[in-house]
Structure formats: C-alpha cells, structure tokens
C-alpha cells in the first residue's frame, strides 16, 4: 500500500498536529481550497492519496458501505472496480466512457448538492485518463462489510525477506525494513547507551532513569545488557502507572461526573484507576482485562446476598470502566423530558467509549441515523445500547452515588463493626462527661428571643412575620402564610414549628418580628441563634440580619442565609437573594440531622471582624467565616422556604453573651473555667474522632440485578421520545461471524441474577479467531504502537473503519495483533518485542537520505524525537528535583483553581508531589501545567493527544511557582549531594536533568553563567545558591530536558 500523504511532509509537521493533515488530505479535500487558486493537480493522480478522499467527501454518503445507492460503493477501491447495478463506474484511460465521470461532468451528481469544483473534476478526469492508478487489480464478489481490512479475521502474515539483514533484530524490524528498502533506506544505527536508557525509562515508566540505574546499565557490557535493562523497567511498579494512564485516557477515566457545570465529584473512581495499574503490573491477560471491565459483576456472579471475596471485589472494581461516561443525573433539574435525556446521555457516552476504545468504530454517528461511512446501522447502535441497558435502565435509574456498594469481605466487615463499637463507646463516655459538666456549669446568656411553639397555632404571627422587621416588602414570593398548612407556609403542630415549602423556586422566608443587633459591640462578646431540628431536609436554611430582602435599596445589605446540608457544613450566602449576592464559604463540620440543636454564633473578634461559627448542641465547631460590620445590619432571624427546604424545628432562641462586667463573681469563675474545660473536651473529642475506624471501603461498580431483559427501542433521530422498532441486544452485525461467534449462545447456568448480556458481549469480543477479537487486537496494538512511536500504524486510533486513516504498515499491524493473541494477550510480551526491536533502539538523528526519502518519518527511518507528554514532564521535574512522592494508589490529590485562575495543586497538600496520574482528574479542572502540555480535559475519552507548541508553555517553564520551586529543590539537592568543584556538581546536575553529562561547551557556558549570575546577586548571603537555582531553572526549561531522543 502506498503510504498516505504523510510522506510528503517533514518530521517538523508530525508533532505539530497530526489531525490537521487529515483536514487537508483525507477527510475534506475541498475543505479549504478556493476556486481562485491554480489547479495544481498531481502529475499521476493516485486512487488512495488523491481520489479516495474526494470520493469519501462527496460521494460516499450515498454510495458507500452504509447506503449503497445503485449498489455502488465508492468507499473502497474494490467497490470502484466492481461498479454498481448500472455497470462499471470507471473504465481506466477512458473518462468519457466512465459512468463516474459522466455523472460528475454533467453535474447530475452529487445529487442535490453543489457540483464538484473544477479542480475536483479535473483531478477525477486526469486520474481516469491516466489509467485509474492505484485501483486493485482483482476484486472478489464478496459483500463490502467483509472487505474492509479491519473488519476481517486476522490475516496470516509472512515476515518479509529483506536485502539488508544487518538491522533486523526481530520481525518488527523486518516489516519496517521492508518498506524502508523500497526507498533505499534502512533502520538507523543504534543510539548511544545514555540515550537508550533515558528513552526506555520514559517509555516504560514515564520517569527518567535514576543515576544508579544509568550507571548499572552503562557498566553492563554483556550482550544482554539492553534486554536486561528493558526487563527491569517492565518489572517496575511504575510501568503500570505509565501504561495504566494510557488505558485510563482511552477508557475516559475521570474523578468527576461532568455533563453539567456542577461537575460533581466521583469519589470512588480512583479504585478503578488502581485496578488498572495493578492489572497492568501483573500483566493480566488483556482479554481477561477487557472481560472484567465489561462484565466483572457477571463473571464473579455478584449477588448482594452473597459475601464478597478479594477476587470478586477486584472484578466489581473493574466494571467501573462502564461508569466513565459523563453522568449528570445527580444534578439534573428541569422537566421530565430533560431529565430523561440526561439519563440516555450516560448510555450514549458509554457506547461512544466502547466504540472508540475497543472497536475503533465511530459508533456514536449511528445514534440518530444509519452511519454514513461505516457499515453500522442505527439498529446496530441500539442493539449495542440494549447490551448496556439492563445496568443503566432509564426507567429504574440510579443516580451515581446510589450505585455505590460496600465492598468488603465478611471478615473485614466484622472487624470493622467491632472496632466501631469500641470507638463509639469511648466517644459516648467523653460526650456524656462533657454534657454532664456543661449542664452543671451553664454558660451565662441573655435571652433576647425565645419561642417554644407551645402556644396555639394562631399565635405564630405574634412572633413571626412574612416580612422582615423594618422592611415593607415580603420575603420573596409567593408570600409565606403564617398559620396554614397550605404551602408555602409555617404552622405550629404538636408543639413544633412546621416549615412547608411549595417545591417551587423563589426565595421565600419568614422572620422574627423582633430585630436584633448582630454586631456585639465589645471584643469577645457574641450573639447566637439556636433551634432544635425535629425533622430534617436536604437543606435546612435559616437567615440572620434579615433586612431589605428584595435588595432594592443598594446600601442596605444584610440577609445572610445559612444552608445546612445533611452531608455536613452549612454554606453561607451573603446579601441573599439577588444577583449581587456572594458566597464567602461554608462553616462547621456536622451535617444537619434531626435530634440535635443547631445554630450560629457571631463573635466580635476585634478589628471590625465578626467570626461566624456553626453551633451544634451549643458548641461552636471548626471552619468559621469572618464578616464585616456592614454585612451584618440589624434585622430579624428567620427560616428559608424553598427548593426542598421543608423541615420541622423547635425551641428557637436568640441569645447574647453577658458582659464580663455584669457577671457575678461566681459567674465569672464559671466562665473562665468553662473556657478551659470546653477546650479540654474539644481536644479529647477531636483526638478520638481522628481515631475513628475508617468506614468499610465503598465501590462504584456496574451491576445488573435482574435476569429480565428490558425492552429497548430504536430512538428515531436519537430523541428518546421518538420510539422506533424494538431491538434485541447484539453486537454490531458487521463484526458477527456467521458460524462460531454468536454472542449469547451460552449464558452460564449459574448466572441467575442478571441478563448475562455484557458477559456475552465480553466473551464475544475476546473469542480468538473471530472478526471481533481481530479488531480488538488491532485497535489495541495500534494504540500501543502509537504510545511507543508517537503515531499509530493507523493514525486515527479510535477509527479503523472506512473513514479512518489507512495503515502505514498493514502487515505489521496484522502481525502484532496476531502475536498479541498468540502470547495469551500479554501486553508486556508486545512491549518487549517492540522495545527490543532495532527500530526502537535506533538513533533519532536523521541522515540526509532519511530526510529526503522519509521526510515525516512514516517509515521510521529514525526514532522520533518526542516531547515529554504532560504527566511525564511534571513527574520528571519532580523526580529531577528529588521531590517526587512515589506513593502508589489511593484517593486522588485534590487540585484547586488558584486566585489567578490557574488550576494548581496546593504545595502544602501531603500528596502535592505525587505522580500526575494521582492528581484529581476533574473534567472541568485539569491541572494547569498538564493541560498546557496537552493533557486532555476528558469529556468522553481520549485516544490521541495533539502535541502543541505555544508560548504559554515557555511562560510556565520560566515563571510559574511550580517550575521555580522545582528549580530551587533541584539546585539545593545538587549543592548538598555533590561536594567540591563545580565540575562535579554540573556533571551531576546535567546527568539528572538530561540523562548525560554536559559537553565541554555546555559546561563552560554554565560556568560563565554561574559567575555572571552570582555577581547579579552580589551582596546577598545566598548568591551562590540563587545562581544555581537560576541554572537549574534553565536545565529544566531546555529542549534537552523536554525531549526524549
């Protein structure tokens, strides 16, 4: 096969943007061409490079694999040769006799669209006149689906015989050399040992080699030195981290739910991340790896009634693969239709991930209509959806967090229960002592307001109002009724205050008729409100400083809402409601649960600041917020009524501290004692709280708990309201083998709790000697190849279909796919073969011949110079500075959006210096340095990254606190570790950063720099260190650090 258009380009382009080439060459020939440009036609147009893209763009929608109008398929050379029901499409050499040309020339085709441009027409004609170069000579009469190479069973390959055997180490080299020889080229000479170990270390582990590793390799002169070095890295636990991350991107891993702006947390996703890392490190056979992710629950025969064991927990963890899709159903609001569409969106995302990660088919295009380019019908799409549907049944939907289960073995559960009992006993003891002491020594308070709701209902209005004191407008709309059960309303029932919201939006509230001064005059004095929560709600909202609620008079602020949540912490909204409101944060620790006494205390802490603390059972909690006097105008206290805030309260109190001067002597003593004693209690309780046995581990799996197969319909135009025909679960027909790979033929007898559909699919896709497993193997080895060499054998890793790029080395792809299956699906076996090939070991310095004959390095006439990807870059900076925290696994390290908008990892976090894959992968909050170096903000998934070169990357390497801090640690490390002369220090510094000692010129430049820079810092006590930090900064910013040769 003639290589694609890549061959026309030099390597410079390849790393800039692979995708852009496709824009120009394959997908859209006419995308940018302008009529006014010269008709620069190739001398001898070729089918694959010149004509196929044109046909694909202008003809294939109607004459393609999906829709063969006139039984004509112009998507393939074979189809062009075969022609359609009206006869041959092309008669080589005779354009006027060719139907294709006739229809195009008289503009009768493309039907209903713009005619072909002059350039397109001329190209087509020239190609036919020139003998229709590039068409296959012989074609079979088989159906088209069978013909596309990627949808066939694996083809036997013959390792080519090449003339120049000297650069052949293994079959991989043979396939490559075969193509190179046709251009008079060969695999390049072996790279130097320092280059090789740096290359292999980054490739396999994503980290630079340590100095000890480098020394061991350099001093190993045995013939097996290289292979042994490769083996050591493949055995490293960091291998799983590196290659696990590739799979996690492919699988669409994220630590957040996405879809909506809220982008809520996915707190348990990390367990799947760790499963992936562990599976790779154990070299779990890839087919098993896929089966577990698709159907681990069914393989392990999960039942909520049966005890779990470590293996079944592992299998369940794997199924989180199917939960990687964005899922906004925990944040859906709006009408029923929208909420339902949000649920379908989860199924759609999952199908898209399945298609691109496993099948290399753009399945998602068949959601609304039959695929325009691939032999995938809309029915195929919904058959696949039907496989997933039992676990994501839209009519029995579970929100993300409701799908989580406790994942512990019976022994673990028992042990936990015991530990918890002991702990609770201890806690109770302390709390009882505290309660008892406090009741004996009550805090002196002045009661400003109290309502125990023991009077008749009709009296509510004597204490409460739907208008704030001093405000003439009611607190939002509709107005709260004061003695009614008709929402929105409050009423006294059973001696409690019932708060009944109306389920509507709108910011309604009630207020005390009494107004309070919320800013105690003296330092350390306070005012507080408290109430007993009798019956809770998702949000228990109450307000203080109720002033001008409608916010008409701008000067008059106030209205501070506390939104106590079941799950803990009360959010504060200042100047509520209205567009100018702000949220200064959240206070407290405890969630709002019935049976406790809640409230807030506002304490004058001096300098015009007022501290707001959440009270639980009379005690202030941690996490406070400071407000200014202007935020706290005089006003009422009240409860909010809207949006799910229906709850019941009792015993409302507004109290203030008593001025020390007004205290009796006895009260004074109690007050002092109370302070120290409550501090003591708090300390004890906090200490004990920390020792609380951790909850049994939770897991976020995919489960299918009914054997009943739900009915699934085709959704016309993809809209869930438009139900079409019913479909049965099945994989895409184009990949079904007619004889021995029917998906559901043998559901295991002991699989009683689920449909077994996903297990059927998992077995179907991994069964050897089938079309499905052949495609899976091709897609997989192609992606691995891409990760080794920067570009896949097929340049579009998520699309091996008709519309994808053709393979540059089809036989090599077949060979590797075959080897993968033959090796028992061993990922490490394939890596070993690739890493040990001479192609991988060759130098990255091109010869002139190579530049001329293989400009863009499609043929791999040299190893591609590769920039470190985002994670490797950040990890290598930390590794070089000696700061990298190598801890593996566990919950993510949270990231945060800093004041300047950049997403960073707070340096103070204990996990701040962990490897990048352990940083929070929040979809809307990709860590700044990673995003800038092309890490994806995952929407569905990512199978290829597009390396960019932009000035912001230079700025981050020069100026960011992250880069400066690594430079500082790096410099200090070198100065500390290497005594004596600059020569030794520089050698070490270069070795650490670039994997080699400096050249003479580099060393001399560095020495001159150190002297000049020291004089810049003259007079400073640490001028030497400063100069070294600046040097370290440049070592890390240099291309020798950023690139792997």
């Amino acid at each position: 096969m003639k290589p694609l258009s890549f061959s026309l380009l030099r390597p410079m382009w390849q790393t800039v943007l692979i995708g852009l080439f496709l824009a120009l060459f394959s997908a859209s020939e006419s995308a940018f061409s302008t009529e006014s440009q010269p008709l620069d036609l190739p001398n001898t147009p070729d089918f694959q490079t010149d004509v196929a893209p044109l046909l694909k763009n202008r003809c294939v929608r109607c004459h393609g694999p999906a829709k063969q109008d006139a039984k004509l398929n112009l998507a393939l050379g074979a189809g062009v040769v075969r022609g359609g029901k009206n006869g041959k499409a092309v008669i080589p050499g005779k354009s006027d006799a060719s139907l294709l040309w006739q229809h195009v020339a008289d503009n009768s085709m493309p039907k209903g669209e713009d005619p072909l441009s002059n350039r397109e027409k001329n190209l087509l004609r020239k190609w036919i006149e020139g003998g229709a170069q590039g068409l296959p000579v012989r074609v079979s009469a088989k159906s088209e689906g069978d013909e596309h190479w990627a949808f066939q069973k694996l083809q036997p390959t013959i390792i080519p015989t090449v003339k120049n055997r000297s650069r052949i180490h293994n079959p991989v080299d043979g396939f490559l050399q075969n193509h190179l020889e046709r251009k008079g080229l060969a695999i390049g000479p072996e790279a130097s040992k320092p280059v090789l170990i740096r290359r292999v270390a980054f490739d396999v582990t994503g980290l630079p080699p340590s100095i000890a590793e480098t020394q061991a390799y350099l001093s190993d002169h045995s013939p097996q030195a290289y292979e042994n070095m490769v083996e050591r890295y493949l055995a490293s636990p960091h291998y799983g981290e590196r290659w696990g991350k590739f799979w996690l991107d492919t699988a669409g891993y994220a630590d957040s739910n996405g879809y909506f702006n809220a982008d809520t947390d996915r707190p348990l996703a990390w367990r799947y991340r760790d499963y992936v890392i562990d599976s790779l490190n154990r070299d779990l056979p890839f087919d098993q790896f896929i089966r577990e992710q698709l159907a681990g629950d069914e393989i392990s025969r999960y039942s909520p009634k049966l005890p779990l064991n470590p293996d079944s927990i592992r299998m369940l963890t794997a199924t989180h693969f199917l939960r990687n899709s964005p899922d906004g159903t925990d944040s859906s609001d709006g009408n029923e239709d929208e909420v339902r569409a949000d649920k379908y969106a989860v199924l759609e995302g999952t199908a898209q991930i399945l298609g691109s990660s496993l099948l290399g088919i753009t399945l998602q295009c068949a959601r609304c209509h039959n695929h325009k380019f691939e032999p995938v019908s809309q029915a195929d799409y919904y058959r696949l959806q039907a496989i997933l549907y039992p676990a994501f049944n839209v009519d029995k939907w579970s929100k993300p967090s409701q799908r989580d289960i406790v994942a512990a073995t019976p022994a673990e559960l028992e042990a936990h229960k015991k530990a918890l009992l002991v702990h609770e006993g201890e806690m109770k003891k302390i709390r009882d002592r505290q309660k008892e002491w406090l009741s004996r020594n009550p805090e002196p308070v002045r009661i400003l307001f109290q309502d125990d709701f023991n009077e008749p209902n009709a009296t509510v209005a004597s204490h409460w109002s739907s208008t704030a004191p001093g405000d003439d407008a009611p607190l939002g709309m509709p107005v709260v009724q004061l003695d009614s059960k008709q929402a929105p309303a409050v009423n006294i029932t059973n001696g409690t205050l019932q708060i009944v919201e109306s389920g509507a939006l709108g910011d309604r509230a009630i207020s005390t008729r009494q107004s309070f001064d919320w800013t105690p005059a003296k330092k350390d004095s306070w005012i507080q409100v408290r109430f007993d929560l009798i019956k809770g709600a998702p949000y228990v909202g109450y307000l203080i400083a109720l002033g001008d609620y409608n916010d008409i008079k701008n000067k008059h602020k106030g209205n501070i809402l506390f939104d106590g949540a079941e799950s803990g912490q009360a959010k504060i909204y200042l100047d509520y409601p209205g567009p100018d409101g702000t949220q200064p944060g959240a206070i407290g620790e405890s969630g709002y649960k019935p049976g406790k006494n809640y409230g807030v205390r506002i304490t004058n802490i001096g300098d015009g600041n007022f501290q707001v603390a959440q009270l639980v059972n009379g005690l202030p909690e941690n996490n406070t917020v400071n407000l200014k006097k202007k935020d706290l105008p005089p006003g009422g206290f009240g409860f909010a009524l809207c949006c799910g805030r229906s709850y019941v309260v009792d015993n409302v109190r507004v109290e203030s501290s008593v001025d020390p001067t007004e205290l009796t002597k006895a009260q004074m003593e109690t007050s002092g004692l109370r302070k120290s004693k409550s501090g003591e209690f708090t300390k004890q309780i906090n200490a004990l709280q920390k020792r609380k046995p951790a909850d049994p581990p939770m897991l976020a799996p995919v489960l299918d708990l009914s054997p009943k197969i739900p009915t699934v319909h085709i959704l016309e135009r993809g809209v869930h309201k438009n139900r079409g025909d019913k479909v049965d679960p099945a994989p895409p027909a184009v990949l079904m083998d007619s004889v021995n790979n029917k998906a559901w033929e043998n559901k295991p007898d002991d699989l009683v709790l689920s449909t077994g559909n996903r297990l059927g699919f998992a077995r179907w896709i991994t069964r050897p000697d089938t079309r499905a497993s052949a495609l899976l193997a091709r897609v997989t080895v192609n992606r691995w190849w891409q990760n080794h060499f920067g570009r896949g054998i097929v340049a579009t890793p998520d699309n091996l279909g008709y519309s994808g790029s053709p393979p540059s080395h089809p036989e090599l792809l077949e060979y590797l796919a075959t080897e993968l299956i033959r090796s028992g699906w061993s990922q490490k076996a394939i890596h070993r073969m690739v890493l040990c090939s001479n192609a991988f070991r060759q130098t990255s310095n091109p010869t002139t011949d190579a530049l001329n004959g293989d400009e863009d390095n499609t043929l791999l006439s040299r190893f591609p110079l590769k920039r470190l990807d985002a994670e490797a870059l950040r990890d290598a900076m930390l590794f070089t500075s000696g700061e990298l925290n190598m801890a593996q696994g566990g919950p993510y390290t949270p990231t945060t959006r800093g004041g300047d908008g950049e997403v960073i990892v707070p340096e103070t976090h204990p996990g701040a210096k962990r490897r990048s894959l352990y940083l929070q992968q929040r979809r809307t909050q990709t860590t700044g340095i990673l995003e800038l170096f092309d890490a994806p903000s995952i929407v569905y998934n990512c199978t290829i990254r597009m390396p960019t070169t932009v000035p912001l990357q230079s700025l981050i390497m020069l100026n960011s606190p992250f880069a400066r801090m690594r430079s500082e640690a790096f410099a200090k490390r070198v100065l500390k570790e290497v005594p004596g002369e600059n020569h030794a220090k520089l050698t070490q510094a270069f070795q650490l950063a670039w994997g080699r000692p400096p050249t003479e010129a580099e060393e001399s430049a560095a020495n001159i720099f150190l002297i000049t820079q020291e004089s810049e810092y003259k007079g400073m006590p640490n001028s030497v260190e400063c100069a070294w930090i600046d040097l370290a900064n440049m070592l890390l910013a240099a291309n020798a650090f950023l690139y792997v040769e």
Partner: protein, 479 residues
C-alpha cells in the same frame, strides 16, 4: 534568525500539494514567528499586513474581529427588546394554550412587563426604558427578535449557542474563527476571554473550549488584576539582567541541541516561543493598561460610576485588544445573573444599570475610531424567557424566542429582524436558529461555514454541521 530558510522548500511543497489552503496557513500560525516569516503568504491575499500571522479568509470579509458581550442566564426579551402590549392586557390572566416550562411546578399567569418601550433613533426600533444607552446606538445595530434554540437547559443551550452542539466537548465559534483567521498580533492570544472578577460563568471554562480543535485555538482568559495571564510576570526575585542571562544560557543549550536536529521545526518553534513569551510579558500588560485613555473615554464607558466601572473596564479593554489585532474577545458574567426566576423586574434594573452604558459605549467608541466597520459586536444570551410568571415575579426559561443584537462588521444598521407571537412566547416570522446565525457570523468574517472544517469522528467536523442542521446564511441580516 535565518533557519527558516532551511525548511521553506518543504512548506512550498506542502502548499503545492494541497492547493493553497487555509489549513496550511493555520499550521503556519502554529509555527509562531519562525514559521510565519517563512510561510511566504501569496501577495494580495493577506489583510492586515504582510508580516502578520494571518490566514486567508474564504471570501472578502466585512469583519475581521469579534467582540461578544455574552449575557449568561437568558435576558428577558419582553422586558428589554421585544415590546408586547398584549401582555399588559392579559396581565394576571391564565395563559391560553400550551407552553413549555422548565420548572413545571411553578407555572404562573401572564406577566406584563412593567417597563415602558418607545421608538428609538432614526430607525424607530422600540426598546425598553431599561436601555437608555443602547437606545442611542440602535441605528448601528441589527436587532434579532426571533432567535430560537433547542434546549431550555442552561448548559445545553450555552453549548449550542457557543459551539452549535448540545453536548460538551465541541469547539466554540471563537475557536473556529481563530482557527480560520489566525492571529493578527503574535504577542497577544488571538482569542481572549475577559471573565468576570466575580467568578466563572455557568459551564465555566467550557464556554471557550477549543473542543476537538487543537488546544491552540481555545480562549485565553485574562483575569483582572496584576496577573492577567497565569505565569506572565517574571518572578519578583529575578532582576531583568538575571533573567536575560538565563535566556542567553537557555539559547546556548537549545542551539547545541538543535544542531543535531537542524530540520526539526518544532524545536525551532519552541526556541522562538521563548522570545514570543518575553514579548507577551510586555504586550499583555500594555493592552490592559488604561492609563493612556482620556477622561472622556473613561466617562463614556462609565468608569467613573461604581455600577458600571467594572463592566465598563472590560468593554474598554475589549476595544483595546481589537485595536491590537486580537481576533475574538468575549466578555462573560459570573454565574448566570440574567436567570431571573424570581424578582425579574428588580434584577433586570440592576443588570441593565451595569451593562447598558458600557455596551453602548463600546459600539459608539468603535465607531468613532473607525473600528466598527471591521469589528462585529454581539450582545445576547443563551435563550429567552417566558411571557408568564414563575412564582409571583419571576420568568422561566424559553427556547422558542430570544432577542439579541449585533452591531458593525457588515451587519445591517438600524434593522430589526423577525417577530414573535402576540405574547412573545414563540418566534413566528423570520425565525433564526443558532446554526443559521453561526453561518451568518462566519460569513461576515470571510469564512464559508461549509468549508471551515476539521476532521472529527472520521468526517469533516464543522461549526454548523450542515448535513444535520442545514444551516444557511441569513442574507437579510447583512448590510
């Protein structure tokens, strides 16, 4: 630098191969300074100067820059742009007929607008009393009263109006414009977002994502304050001389490295990016520094009043950026302030106080500087609001009618397009969907929406995706 010559032949081969194409020049754009200078733009095809990183438009444009004043939340059209006397007649009565509401539990009765409308300017287009300043530029604008969208969900509707697609992850039209036209100033980002100091808008940074276009084309958010771009400033502990020494050392290192890969354009580009970065360090603060603006200008934008100072500052910065060759500037508001589910009337007063004067000032100022002819200013949100109340005094989302205005850049002046029904619930005449709007906007920028494509999902992806949307240019909107 001379090394550009070393790969110039390759570029010629490249251009020759593909037909002189926009995409190839987008690559030149990617290549930064070195690449651009070697690009050899054909004469007569660039506009804005031969030395700039400018790509080719498809046809003669009427605009080469965009300022989008985006109003998050859905401004209430019947209170601002689309007078409906029948609302007043039926105020408080039940709405007759079906109505799609977002919050179904709170459907109220017909709600009149409390605001007075009058004819404005020569054109006599009626606008609300809430927009006294916008009223003064009414003869410059095309007001569209018949915009419809496909979702009443904020996020989906935002993605639709920004990227033409419901779901997250597709490129915004700012990215498409930047991809199509490149930058006219290599020291400033081509696509700048001036976000609200109060915080991110709903849907956050996805409002300016480049989706599956290269990351290069995503919006760069300038933040208010001393560090408009993260890591722009040289660390305080480095003197200029110390930094200069560093860069000299780095150049030495990189040149030695490069000597082994002389043809590698990416390495060239990365080296020259350090120079570009240094220029950005001066260019960005300069563009944001308003000290050279005279009192009259400051007053025009309302910088002297507390209500308008913040938004006015960003509008003024937008003008300065466009003056300096930035292609696409977008202003956002924190959260979604126009989402007036309750307190509609009172909230609108505050919001108009904040935005009316600065928005109008921008158009006026661009005009007096002769920039309006080539700059397109668009004002609007993701959807409109309902003619009935939500609760007592709010308005719920409405996807069937929305108003927005566009001034300059070849759009018709003093023109009002489209009509809604008597109560303003549905657009009924000259209905404009988001895709047609996109096609038209691109058209004025010299870009053919059918040909501005990038491979995605195995086919040419585009903003308007005509195979699905059948988007067409709305000729009536063009001057």
């Amino acid at each position: 630098m001379n090394h550009s010559n070393s790969f110039a032949p390759c570029r010629r081969a490249f251009l020759g191969r593909s037909g002189l194409s926009l995409g190839s020049l987008a690559l030149a754009h990617l290549m930064s300074e070195t690449g651009a200078k070697g690009a050899g733009l054909p004469e007569g095809n660039s506009f804005g100067g031969p030395d700039n990183l400018i790509n080719l438009p498809h046809h003669k444009p009427t605009a080469d820059a965009v300022i989008c004043l985006f109003q998050h939340g859905g401004p209430s059209q019947m209170d601002l742009f689309d007078p409906k006397p029948d609302l007043t007649k039926l105020d408080g009565k039940p709405y007759q007929g079906d109505l799609e509401v977002h919050f179904s539990g709170q459907k109220g009765n017909v709600l009149a607008s409390p605001f007075r409308f009058s004819k404005r300017g020569q054109s006599g287009i009626e606008l609300s009393e809430l927009l006294p300043h916008t009223s003064r530029i009414v003869d410059e604008m095309t007001l569209v009263r018949s915009v419809v969208t496909e979702s009443v969900d904020h996020e989906s509707a935002l993605r639709l109006i920004h990227s033409g697609k419901f779901q997250a992850g597709d490129p915004t039209w700012g990215s498409w414009v930047t991809y199509g036209l490149g930058s006219a100033n290599r020291n400033l980002p081509a696509y700048v977002v001036l976000s609200d100091p109060g915080g991110l808008p709903v849907d956050g940074t996805r409002n300016w994502t480049s989706g599956w276009l290269p990351a290069l084309y995503q919006g760069t958010a300038f933040r208010p304050g001393a560090n408009p771009v993260a890591n722009l400033a040289t660390p305080a502990d480095l003197t200029p001389a110390a930094r200069k020494n560093q860069l000299r050392l780095l150049e030495h290192f990189n040149k030695e490295h490069l000597s082994r890969y002389p043809q590698n354009a990416e390495l060239h580009s990365r080296i020259s990016n350090f120079e570009t970065a240094a220029r950005m360090q001066t260019a960005v603060p300069e563009a944001l520094d308003l000290s050279s603006e005279d009192q009259a200008t400051r007053k025009l934008y309302g910088l002297d009043q507390p209500e308008t100072a913040e938004y006015g500052t960003r509008c003024l910065v937008a003008r300065r950026l466009v003056e300096r060759g930035v292609r696409f500037v977008q202003l956002f508001m924190a959260g979604q302030p126009w989402d007036t589910h309750s307190n509609n009337a009172a909230s609108l007063k505050g919001l108009c106080k904040r935005t009316d004067q600065p928005s109008a000032a921008l158009v006026h100022d661009l005009k007096q500087r002769g920039l309006l002819d080539r700059t397109l200013v668009m004002w609007g949100g993701e959807f409109g609001r309902l003619p009935i109340s939500q609760g007592k005094d709010g308005r719920d989302h409405n996807r069937h009618a929305n108003s927005l205005w566009i001034a300059g850049g070849g759009f018709r002046k003093g023109y009002c397009h489209g009509m809604t029904d008597e109560l303003g619930y549905k657009a009924v005449k000259d209905v404009v969907n988001v895709h047609d709007l996109h096609a038209t906007l691109l058209h004025t920028l010299g870009l053919d929406h059918k040909r501005l494509t990038y491979p995605h999902d195995g086919r040419p992806g585009s903003l308007t995706d005509i195979a699905v949307t059948k988007a067409e240019i709305i000729k009536d909107l063009l001057a």
